[in-house]
Amino acid sequence: MIPTKFLLILPILVPFLTGILAVLSWHQRNLQRVVSLTGSALLLVVTLILFQRIDRFGPQAVQVGNWQAPFGITLYADLFAAIMLVMAGLLGLAVGLYSLANIDEMRQRLGFYPLYQILLMGVCGSFLAGDIFNLYVWFEVMLIASFVLLALGSERRQLEGAIKYVTLNLMSSAIFLAAAGILYGVAGSLNMADLAMRLRTAPVGVVTTLAMMFLVAFGIKAALFPLFSWLPSAYHTPPTAVSAIFSGLLTKVGVYAIVRVFTLLFVQDQAYTQAILLILAALTMVTGGLGAVSQYHYRRILSFHITSQIGYMVMGLALFTPLALAGAILYIVHNIIAKTNLFLISGITEWVGGSYDLKKLGGLYVRQPLLAGLFLVSALALAGLPPLSGFWAKLTLIKAGLEAQAYLIVGTALLVSLLTLYSMIKIWTQAYWKAQPEMVERPLPPRGIGWVIRFAPVMLLAACTIALGLGAEYFLDVAQTAANQLLNPSLYVETVFGTFVGGMH
């Protein structure tokens, strides 16, 4: 059995070591592919062990370098963090497998696999970070890897998307860093557990200002309204494997950070912050949904839906009841799986149909019934049809909304669900159902190893979506435990400092 204090660092170490080995095997491409895939599989195993450990023994913390908190570097994992880590591991493996077929030789030679692993390291680091400055550093690790992954290959439209992406994300980093600096000036610490105690006595006005600064910084990364414009203009440009991993993990790291700081640190003036979050959530849902309706590009529709769905997650946070937070967590898990899978499916659709443009696609239901079926599973899950995963997540959120008597947001959420359903049906009828447009007949791709590599991860994720729907009771149970941990900041403080702390709550 691995000691817990070592286990906690492994989700960072495994992708890092894999990335290093991928650098060392730079010129042997086949070896590099084996290394990368093995590392991704190992990451999933490690995160699953960590999840099981935390599920049994509660939140865990470790002080890197053995310097005591608040002076050392704290890593902290509660059930929410563990769930997110498992998601990172699952996607790392699924997309890692898919990338073996999807990433061309030129991008592999330019270092796709090391960057992919470093991206995973940054994501896992962000989930584990126990102080604000380390969170910033992990964000940067993740962003720099993502900048290069987005621009790798230097196609014209890729660079166009990358410029918008880099500019806005750098601005977000600057705001984040400035906010961290002011926070340090106000509270004298950046360790989150320490801050949770110190901010209780800080002036409310200053703390709320800081909360808004962090909301803007994280909101850009999470693609909240009105800061989301970089996402739909960048995510459809790189190879499918890259947009799939971005859509699954990067915005969710932003959401994770928002949830973390607004449950642990900025809880003084809740009436004010929750109202703002609620309005932002509603506007994000609606604008994302409407944006998707107006599009005819497969991946652009999906990109707008990422934004729309962030709204649901923030809605759960804004309602701030245990049930609502559980719904948000369930929604994040469901969305990560379903959305990534849709991106992977869009890649296969392009592979067999020759385009991402819905007007040029058609007839794929006849020619690729399996692909069409897999699309339907994920698309209907995204729209929230029972018994798939999205239904339970939305049901939980809406139930929580009704309990909190927030009828306006509930109405918006239901309405946007219809918009989601509409755009999923649009993709379905255009790409799969309608007759093939008068064009050159494309030969069916061979059912060789390339077929297996592309379809295996899609089937895996579709199976996860169905399992999430059928085993909803267990998953809701886990999500509720995670939500209760989030709503109990003294648990965080006690875990990090290792002692009972009086005077909280």
């Binding site: 290093i20 060392l24 890197v64």
Partner: protein, 145 residues
Amino acid sequence: MRSLILTTATRYLLPLMLLFSVFLLFRGHHDPGGGFIGGLVASAAFALHGFAYGMPEARRVLLFDPLKLIGVGLLTAVSSGLVAPIVWGRPFMTTIWSQTSIAALGKLGTPLMFDTGVYTTVIGVTMLIILALAEEDGDQEEEAI
């Protein structure tokens, strides 16, 4: 276009600068210096050699592929953090010092190992950039990466 002054000076400067970089590396833990600045000085030495004798020559005296240096350097740095959890069961990156101190070097420990990793990585990264930029002219037969 080879300058006699530059080539002659480089012949003496290269070993001196490399020696100085190692000196910086070893004194780094308690005094100004360290792996990063040491690595930069070492890369400056190799770059100087490249300017004097041409980049293929710099590549030859570097002995290793810069990419390999980056990989090995990072691996060394990470391993220094792994000593504590694997051998003593302490948290990752806990520093371990030897009890006896060695003449001229002082006490050995995992921070020195970490610094050595940084030193190697910095040489790798800097040389990768310099070689790629200098060889881009097209008059070199070797590819950048």
